[in-house]
């Protein structure tokens, strides 16, 4: 076969330097987006550098805490619910564990669930949505009706239902929230595919004999990527919130692994006299979710001007 290939004009060109510079400029001039980016980076740094696993694990040693000197699992029975002071800046919980250390390690669970489930839901949903949009006909109808039914359910109820089937645990939490998020991605990818499909460059690709998978991968996916990245950032915020909700209800990762939602849950027993046990992890959730929301809004302005409010 000859090497003639239809070139798809990317709707938001990223190859031109001036274009890229302009996008960068749009992003940098958006102050809330910068704040969001900084918050997200802080949380990522906290999760990565909570201990020295990157040195210790290759050597076969146990990691030791890095940012804080306290072990998040070490209990101090004599100082239960101790107030914040110079040593324990956020106080101790009901088992005498350092709250600040637990918040740092808890960032790992939140980020793993947030990013993992969005990646999973994004890939799953995008695949189903683009396929439905591209194939069309009855298959498309059936798939999109199912997506509508799933979307009618609030994410928390869906998450609870899926967790009831799967059982608790980190990987199951990622799977559950990933499944919950996938219909949204499917709908957006479907809509975007329908728009792109009508373009001449797709017809040109069909005319030169490109197969379905190639058209999806080379011509359609790059064009809807911007919208999907925006959605991904905003839904990471949602995923982290849903994870916190489920942990708070008592269906999160099993104790004693620190997770922000379950830390707050433990603290509610002692709200009247030791509110810090609940208050600080909540601030951590707020900062993280706010960061991803701001970043998502900023990315939308850069990557997808059509969606701007």
């Amino acid at each position: 076969m000859s090497q003639i290939q239809a070139q798809s004009p990317v709707v938001h060109p990223v190859r031109l330097r001036s274009q890229r510079q302009r996008m960068w400029h749009t992003f940098l001039s958006n102050r809330p987006a910068i704040v969001g980016l900084v918050l997200v980076i802080i949380v990522i740094l906290a999760a990565v550098f909570a201990d020295n696993w990157f040195i210790a694990l290759p050597r076969g040693e146990d990691p030791t805490p890095l940012i804080t000197t306290f072990d998040p699992l070490k209990q101090d029975a004599r100082n239960r619910l101790a107030e914040p002071d110079a040593e324990h800046i956020m106080g101790l919980d009901s088992y005498g564990r350092d709250t600040w250390a637990r918040i740092l390690y808890g960032a790992r669970v939140s980020l793993a669930v947030g990013l993992g489930s969005v990646l999973l839901g994004g890939v799953l949903g995008t695949f189903v949505g683009t396929l439905a949009g591209y194939i069309g006909g009855k298959t498309e109808n059936i798939i999109m009706r199912a997506v509508d039914v799933l979307m009618a359910f609030p994410s928390l109820i869906m998450g609870l239902m899926v967790l009831a089937v799967l059982g608790a645990g980190l990987s199951k939490m990622i799977l559950a929230i990933g499944i919950v998020l996938s219909p949204t991605f499917a709908r957006v990818a479907h809509g975007a595919t329908l728009t792109i499909k009508e373009n001449d460059f797709v017809n040109a690709a069909i005319a030169v004999g490109a197969n379905r998978m190639r058209i999806l991968r080379v011509h359609i996916l790059p064009n809807i990527l911007g919208e999907l990245i925006v959605l991904g950032s905003i839904w990471t915020a949602t995923a982290i919130r849903v994870e916190a909700n489920l942990s708070f209800i008592g269906l999160g990762v099993s104790p004693p692994t620190p997770a922000w939602g379950s830390m707050i849950r433990d603290g509610t027993q002692h709200l009247g006299y030791a509110p810090w046990v609940s208050i600080f992890p909540g601030v951590a959730i707020l900062i993280t979710v706010l960061g991803f929301n701001l970043l998502g809004d900023g990315l939308r302005d850069v990557l997808d001007p059509r969606l701007q409010q």
Binding site: V149, I157, Q309
Partner: protein, 314 residues
Amino acid sequence: MLRIKYLATRLVLAIPTFLAVLTLVFFVIRVIPGDPATAALGDYASKEAVEAMRERMGLNAPLYVQYFKFLGDLLQGDLGKSLITGKSINEQVKEVLPYTLELTLSAVLVGAVIGIPTGIYTAVKRNSPADYLGRVLSLAGLSVPAFYLGILIMLLFALKLDLFPAVGGGDLTDWKDNLSHLFLPSLTLGLIMTASVTRLTRSAMLNVLQEDYVRTARSKGLEERVTILRHALRAALVPIVSIIGIWTANLIADSVLTETVFARPGLGKMLVGAILQRDYTALQSVMVVYTGFIVIVNLATDLLYSIVDPRISH
């Protein structure tokens, strides 16, 4: 007439959706690992006892027989008996549903009553300090988990200021007691919803305010109040109604969280209890009630659409 026809169509279309979800729930519950009979009797029950229990619960019947029995019972309004307590689930639902309904509806009221005017105001006063403050607050509202806001509100109003009771659902027959218990949880959920409604109302109004007919209304000397409320808001109402519908469904789910924080009885607590105790029949029934509620909310939203924008029913 057109509106009735439109609603009838929506109603007929809602039936297959309802049935699809019921079917999904029925089969998903059957996938849950573990044997309901063992769960009901405990791990130390003898083999014979478990077998007898399975027979009594109808679990030995073929799956399609169980499925049609489930649908048949449902048609007669029978949700079955709890595996754990043996009590009628109808009774249990009847007991807790009022608490969840009053919480959800009052929260929707709070969200709409604060959110819509704030959205209009910040759109009209675009880029003013008030607009900026409104945007920051609504973004914070979108980022705070409902249960955390509930804890903060409880700390301030119940534990520090001692204005309202911290926990419990109150006595349904005593409206004063009931209302005082309802206030903090519904404020919590209402404020979360306010954030979304404000943001959406603001952006819908900003779009409409640029339209030519708004300029025309202004240029013919119409009072600004009338221009905004009668001309602009009218057109912005469709997305606002839509977000209120979405939030009504969301809030009945989020009530799980406030019910946990404020130790209120309710559907959400029943759902979580059913999951933790592996009470399959209760889990199935609560999901049926949720589904029914969501279908009703969607129908009501459709009805409101056709009232707000008569073109929709045509």
